[in-house]
């Protein structure tokens, strides 16, 4: 999985991940749409370029670990894992159904490769810190990538964990925060403003990068910068558009927690099929 890919190949993976998100959510009939679509590029970059992992050996000790804290965006995790070959893509249709391995919020090892349990917000970063600390204690050079939401920064436990990671210089830990500005009750800055986010993280002794979360090159570069950073954990604030790729979903809080119906899904997929062109344009720019 570490073979270098072109931005165009990563964009194709992101595109496929978005399609899988829409099709699995329409089958499920419930779930979150905007967050998963918004993080498709980050997951494509992680699973197909940045992370050192092997879907055929999910329990390989040297693998990089992805800890998902905002568990409700798990459709993007499942889509990326299926795309990478952890399980058949056909199984994505069982999302949130009874007897499925694909729970509505991720359950540790329900599918080999799901690295943690989350759902109640604010718990993932502590898990990631413990994991990073434990790997370092064992001289294991694997890295930990924690995915978090911006709304969930309101949970106090995160700040206990940021504090711990900064003081303990967990440089093998990278947090990627989905800065999409929406949560259930509206826009984050209306509910409980997060700004100045960057300064808060820096005050907790983190190295902070602020990027366009849809620019695949920027995502990959930021992760490599994090790998090269000594003595500090790195937070990558990924500015994203919730619902990215589907015009009628973009930036609207209402799509945080609802799935598309069949007609909406059809339209969403039609729009996604044209997205390739837009991504190609970005690569050229």
């Amino acid at each position: 999985m570490s073979a270098a890919r072109s931005i165009k190949e990563l964009a194709q993976k992101a595109q496929a991940i978005r399609q899988s998100i829409i099709t699995s959510l329409v089958e499920a009939g419930s779930g979150h749409t905007a967050g998963p679509l918004g993080m498709a590029d980050v997951f494509a970059a992680l699973y197909f370029q940045v992370m050192n992992h092997d879907p055929d050996k999910p329990d390989w000790d040297g693998r990089d670990r992805l800890i998902l804290s905002n568990g409700h965006i798990c459709p993007v995790l499942y889509a990326a894992m299926a795309e990478a070959g952890y399980f058949p893509k056909k199984e994505l249709g069982t999302l949130r159904q009874i007897n499925s391995r694909l729970q509505g919020h991720p359950h540790y090892w329900s599918v080999p490769g799901v690295e943690n349990t989350s759902g109640p917000l604010g718990q993932g970063l502590s898990q990631a810190c413990g994991l990073a600390y434990g790997l370092r204690l064992s001289n294991n050079r694997a890295r930990v990538y924690a995915i978090m939401g911006d709304g969930e920064q309101q949970e106090g436990q995160n700040w206990e964990a940021y504090w711990f990671a900064g003081v303990n210089r967990l440089s093998n830990l990278t947090a990627l925060i989905d800065r999409n500005n929406i949560q259930i009750d509206g826009y984050t800055e209306d509910v409980l403003p997060l700004q100045p986010f960057r300064h808060k993280l820096e005050a907790f002794r983190w190295n902070v990068l602020d990027i366009d979360g849809h620019n695949l090159g920027a995502i990959v570069d930021a992760c490599y910068q994090a790998q090269a950073t000594q003595q500090q954990p790195t937070a990558i604030i990924c500015n994203t558009i919730p619902g990215q790729g589907v015009e009628f979903m973009e930036n609207l809080p209402v799509w945080h927690g609802q799935p598309p119906d069949k007609d909406q899904a059809r339209e969403a997929l039609r729009q996604l099929r044209t997205l390739g062109g837009r991504l190609d344009c970005r690569e050229l720019s």
């Binding site: 540790y108 502590s126 413990g130 504090w163």
Partner: protein
Amino acid sequence: MSDQPLKLNDYQRQPELTSTRDGFGRGLVDTAKADDRVVGLCADLTESVRFQWFKEAFPERFIEVGIAEQNLMGLAAGLALAGRVPFAGSYAAFSPCRNFDQLRVSVCYSNLNVKAVGGHAGLTVGPDGATHQALEDIAITRALPNLTVIVPCDDRQAYRATLTMAQEKGPMYLRLSREKTPRLTGPHTPFELGRGQLFRAGGDVTLVGTGIMTVAALRAADELAKLSISARVINIHTIKPIDQQLITQAARETGALVTAEEHQLHGGLGGAVAEVLAERWPVPLERVAVQDTFGESGPAQELLKKYGLTSQDIVKAAQKVIKRKNSKSEV
């Protein structure tokens, strides 16, 4: 199963007063010597929950978390994901009572190999008052799938429990006391998770104790003997999974039970025993526990007296339950 009671320390003639936290502290050092996966985490209570000796022996395997119990439990989950055997401790009032959600989601649902340690449990923490007297921790932990709940009766049992916790896989909760109580178990008293222990034979009534209330149950049995009442005494160190067989046998053979615990009336040892009896062998039961109320500041022994947790209270409960057993109508 043997019907012979286990040989105990002579707790009446030579009372060696020790605390279960001390047994844990020694156990953690010894288990860490044998197993380099063991790590310790504590939330600013390193000395009083007895992580101090471990910290001195293995500074590189000790993690000071600070006053952050949610993070404490999450870190422990992550360390378990990394293949470690984390012992994560604080006062029971804070862990698991404050971080129940982290214990539930990050640890138990994932079935991770985390050992949660709750110190200073119960009324006997004394002058600190009701906020610090964890009386609900057994009830909440007992409700969690995958979790084993352990309440040792003396320091030696706490020591053995700690060694066993490191060896056996899965999430576990160890409840500890600060109060010094007589050492009951002998050097060869066995310890097996999920197995209750017969501490005294008897046929008229069974007194079931856990933690520091087991010694009160033994003293109550001595008092009852003077009244020509033969009381059996069982020590339950593993509240979940509970030893259904031993409790059912006691119900069948003595026909009346009394439970004794330093915990709320609801959901603790008494609740667990009531569930077993109701489903398998219904007989009269009396529960000696804190009666659905908060504690207060005061010396430990006076608090136990005021809130009805003395051997004398167990004697009275035993007399009442025997009366119920022998009555044909509701008592």
